[in-house]
């Protein structure tokens, strides 16, 4: 039994290994900057292979964009400045996390609105059932013996 588990573990590791190999550049010396680099490269969309972040994409343009981010960080630019720089060239599309703006308001508010809508529907159903129950004399006195 144990060898099966070991085999599974080995297979999992084998599958995971290539994922680390995409960004071959050495980490930045300052761990704080490296953290920002990782954060930014994971939230910027690869423009060529559009469902991947530039951190995970093996295509060349992603490597070029990572270099761009790295150099901007080293040059002392803030995360927001770097986002602004790339949005200016590729549009807001490059951000995996859309910004808060009038155009995007619905996008951000939709989950909350849907939750509120669902809660409202649920509340109405419960209230209507409650009203039915209250108006039905047969269920008032003995529970479980309704005709």
């Amino acid at each position: 039994m144990k060898w099966v588990l070991a085999l599974i573990a080995a297979l999992l590791c084998a599958g995971a290994a290539p994922a680390f190999a995409v960004d071959a550049s050495p980490p930045l010396e300052d761990p704080v900057l490296q953290q920002r680099y990782l954060g930014l490269t994971h939230e910027l969309r690869c423009v060529k292979c559009q469902n991947e972040a530039i951190a995970d994409s093996p295509v060349e343009i992603a490597a070029d964009l990572r270099r761009e981010v790295r150099e901007a960080i080293v040059a002392g630019q803030s995360d927001e400045q770097i986002r602004e720089l790339l949005v200016g060239r590729y549009g807001e599309f490059i951000l995996f996390r859309p910004r808060w703006s009038a155009r995007n308001a619905l996008l951000w508010l939709a989950p909350g609105l849907m939750l509120l809508g669902g809660a409202f529907v649920g509340w109405r159903i419960v209230r209507r059932r409650g009203a039915l129950l209250a108006n039905d004399p047969s269920t008032v006195d003995s529970e479980g013996e309704s005709s």
Partner: protein, 180 residues
């Protein structure tokens, strides 16, 4: 009132959902294309070495000042560029529009050989080995073609292969309308 709640509301909700998805589907074919935020803005700086004389730097703003021109991004590694080459040649000859070629992340020798074999539709060809200028222009895949007006403003951008038809439909009207 009850009938309204039971049928009309869910049906209305469903209809809204259908509408939303229909709009999404309609836009789907264009999803892969990023609409450039640079359209209507001054063209970014372009100062790159010439393919045939790497020691000489060309400044696009200076070279093409006061003229309409196309910037065409290509590479010998790009199959669609080969396909596009013929149309580009025809457009540049028939419409007398200067084309600046940006050989993107390519091998110089291969690029020169390509131009020798297929002909050269470009007034000038510059090389961007590192891809920095390409990123400044928002390039993300060759071929890409930009139309720049005499004032140095990017007027249009086509991602993917240019054809005579696309040129006549998308590019030409922009040039005649704004005169100059």
């Amino acid at each position: 009132m009850k009938a309204l709640n039971r049928f009309v509301l869910p049906l209305g909700g469903f209809a809204l959902l259908v509408l939303l998805l229909a709009i999404g589907l309609r836009q789907a074919p264009d999803k892969g294309i990023i609409v450039s935020p640079l359209i209507g803005k001054p063209a970014p700086a372009l100062r790159l070495p010439l393919l045939n004389e790497p020691a000489v730097m060309l400044d696009a703003a200076e070279t093409f000042r006061g003229r309409w021109y196309l910037l065409n991004v290509w590479g010998t590694w790009c199959p669609e560029c080969r396909y596009e080459h013929k149309a580009l040649t025809e457009i540049s000859q028939r419409y007398q529009i200067p084309v600046l070629g940006m050989d993107w992340k390519d091998d110089d020798a291969a690029a020169r050989e390509w131009l020798q074999q297929l002909g050269n539709p470009y007034e000038q060809v510059v090389t961007d080995h590192e891809g920095r200028t390409a990123i400044a222009w928002g390039v993300y895949g060759a071929p890409e073609t930009y139309l720049i007006n005499p004032a140095g403003i990017i007027v249009h951008k086509k991602v993917g292969g240019l054809t005579l038809d696309i040129w006549q439909r998308e590019f030409l009207p922009l040039m005649t309308r704004s005169g100059s």
